[in-house]
Subunit: 316 residues, 2 copies
Amino acid sequence: MTPLPQKIAVIGAGDIGCGWAALCAAAGWPVTLFDASSRSMERAAIDVPRRARALVALGHATEGMVERGLLELHQGRSLLQTVQGADWVIEAIHEDLGAKQKLFHAIEEVAAPEALVTSSSSGIPPTELFSRCRRQDRCLVAHPLNPPQLIPLVELVPGARTAVASVTRAQEYLRALGRMPIVLKKPVPGYVVGRIAAAVWRECIDLVLTDVIAVDDLDRAVSLGPALGWAAAGPHLTYHLAAGDGGVNAFLQHLLASFEGWWGQLATWQRLEPEQQRALTHEVERAYKGKVEELREARDRRLSAILRALEQTRTT
Amino acid sequence: MTPLPQKIAVIGAGDIGCGWAALCAAAGWPVTLFDASSRSMERAAIDVPRRARALVALGHATEGMVERGLLELHQGRSLLQTVQGADWVIEAIHEDLGAKQKLFHAIEEVAAPEALVTSSSSGIPPTELFSRCRRQDRCLVAHPLNPPQLIPLVELVPGARTAVASVTRAQEYLRALGRMPIVLKKPVPGYVVGRIAAAVWRECIDLVLTDVIAVDDLDRAVSLGPALGWAAAGPHLTYHLAAGDGGVNAFLQHLLASFEGWWGQLATWQRLEPEQQRALTHEVERAYKGKVEELREARDRRLSAILRALEQTRTT
């Protein structure tokens, strides 16, 4: 069993970086957070404790720890000072391959020899991300979903040169944080979640732009429909359980013909042209105009309620 | 406001028909259920009360109503006797266009002039389903998800000749049953849910058959990852809320390039060849062998817990 980390370095103080920082600090792990933008750092000083409080409310962190100053959250003064002495360096900057490659190169210069280095990239293969690192054995992707402190899944994507021990260590850290790490057997662009999300989003955009359904009706249809089933079981298991005792084989016999008919009809475009972007933006803004804050709060309440319900289910 | 129906006829006593019957009977509506197979009818006599009890447990039906004999569930002796005098005729037989067309033709012969007629088809356009009916004004698709008594969404798909009043009436019946009816603006094969599910499933099959991820890891990745987000907000709203105050427009600026890269790489095959069907069946059975009953119960517990949590969120 790997000892727990004594210092976490989080580079990038956007939504993903603040989520990682809140998750680790709420677990009592000392976190140093760094962002080249002082505005992002100022925002993070408010945002990370806010996220930590949400974890307390969920019962995932010690009651009152934020108020009693138990959150060990430090503002890094430089990349060097942030990364130095860290057991785990978490990259969480914007999704730009060149910027990430440069950052990993700089991290390597200053990181302790035993540091674990993970990228929060949502889809770039690790071999590209870490191409400028000499020590790729300790590097891998640990892709969280948004918000990272709430959604349990973290995709672990090792590269060809990642050491098995580094994958194991990342799994142990993540499990200690209450996460569910899933290891991909091989890296593909978009990993697993990005590809599935891309398949969903393309069809959802197409259904709106071809005027089959309104934006808010589509969102309701997914969230009160198939998403509930997938949250309860996952797609393969859903179909394995859908045809009685015959399992997925019986399901294929009954419904493959329908699916094959639909597969031939799904959207296949690969670019969203500027006029389509404008049309989509127009439809989404029209559906949700003036209600964004209210919808964000409702989303957060729903997500927290679902997570709490699922945790109670696991323990009963 | 349409008066509530005094008699519901459900034709087909499989999973979907039993779900409809339980939902209506648990609401106190008299239901007559008919299936040409006596074996299905025998199973339904046990299955419908079991589903109704689950609705009682969720607080959706009167405590003890099953035990006190308050479930008005009748076994139809023939199609004629089942449909005669019904305000609402629900077709829920297997997904076979010819069989459904023939059934709707037979229903039309015996249904009361004012009866509403709905099909539970999961993707066939209404114009095809009702092509042999003279009175298409009262016919539309009302597609529930599995299990119909639990998942709130019902897709309403009117055909070109469906009367607006029939759509309104279906919405009123469904809302009275605690359902969330969503009306499509025009019919497409697979409707909305089937197309999105088809996009998801193709990619999920592909990720397993190309050995990127194991079946159970993929299911966990979806259910503990994106499905939670979609259950809380739906795809368009998720992305509208994901990029801070900039909304979907800012999201497109940051992440469209990633999505476009993935769209170009997603699975595009339209048939699942026999050897792929065998490979998929093999992988799914290997992942879940000997655990199906346990997994079904866990799925049902998770789904009930999520639904209860979401209902409490709505009322707070």
